[in-house]
Symmetry: C2
Subunit: 194 residues, 2 copies
């Protein structure tokens, strides 16, 4: 059943989107091609009309995941009162919603280490995504020099990712997890201000 090229592009987008969700939610290795296709309402056979391999799909999903996150964060800073952009970023990143829904959250915090090991095009897409994320943070950090802005952005991103990871790890103890989020927020703000 041949589809129009517009429909094909839409199908591809759909596959990438569900793959991203499943990969963030269940992990790279645990997400199978057939499963993704089924979840997208297709059969596994047609997969290779869209992607050369599972690796290819994963790279596309990582790229799309970062792009989506950047768009969301940019929208949030745009809405925030002037000078409060970074604070809004931090609150969003360290929100309970983000902690509780890895499948809709940051790629870096959900499959960072697996990507590291995967290497190849997946890792390349990942590094590119991180660089662009750092750039976004850099824009919203105040400092004397560009270099100092970048340094602070690195420190902020570090504490955001680490804090989210810790909060997720402690999730069974609601109070302790909440505390981890709060401590990371305060830390991020302090690190941003020098």
């Amino acid at each position: 059943m041949r589809r129009s090229s517009e429909e094909k592009a839409e199908t591809r987008r759909q596959i990438v989107k569900t793959a991203g969700r499943m990969i963030r939610g269940k992990g790279l290795a645990e997400t199978g091609v057939a499963e993704v296709m089924a979840e997208a309402g297709l059969t596994h056979g047609g997969f290779y009309r869209h992607f050369a391999s599972k690796e290819d799909l994963a790279a596309a999903a990582v790229e799309a995941g970062f792009a989506h996150m950047r768009a969301r964060l940019a929208a949030i800073t745009a809405k925030a009162p002037p000078g409060k952009g970074l604070e809004a970023l931090i609150d969003t990143y360290l929100s309970e919603a983000h902690r509780d829904q890895p499948q809709h959250g940051c790629v870096m915090a959900s499959i960072g280490m697996e990507v590291q090991r995967a290497g190849g095009v997946i890792q390349a897409a990942y590094e590119d995504g991180i660089a662009k994320l750092l750039a976004l943070f850099t824009e919203h950090v105040q400092a004397a020099s560009r270099r100092q802005q970048e340094d602070r952005a690195q420190a902020v991103l570090s504490v955001l990712v680490g804090g989210l990871l810790l909060a997720r790890a402690l999730k069974h103890d609601a109070a302790e997890s909440q505390r981890a989020l709060q401590n990371a927020k305060l830390a991020a703000l302090r690190l941003a201000e020098g």
Copy 2:
């Protein structure tokens, strides 16, 4: 070929150790039971004389990994000049060696998210390990109250884990990766001091 119970215990330790190394190096899902046994110089068949399942082994490996890390860190603070314990901890955690050798490093920074998804006894061992690691850091943080010590320990651990993750992600760009380590170190020290 029956072995003495002392030999059996030693074999078990060997299996746990190699499993820990492989899991940190290649990931939980990518590490197979047969492969671990082969690496330990055994055949896959004898595995179930030692563990009830792969999950059981993974939990043991996580527990042993945290115990090993605590021992190493404790040794480092013991060697450091008085009052410099935390600084030594930070330098070790954010060293290039730790960045470059995940298979010998911190469980939290190498399989944190996978453990999260695995749940069950693996996650239980992981949470226990983190709690004890936090306690170790708490002892070496100065603050007015116990609660403040704990808060600062959480912040420090967050930036350590996040910084290591970022440094690993940027590893292909040596200068940038180095910078991430350095920024995280400075950040950790600042956060420790209030």
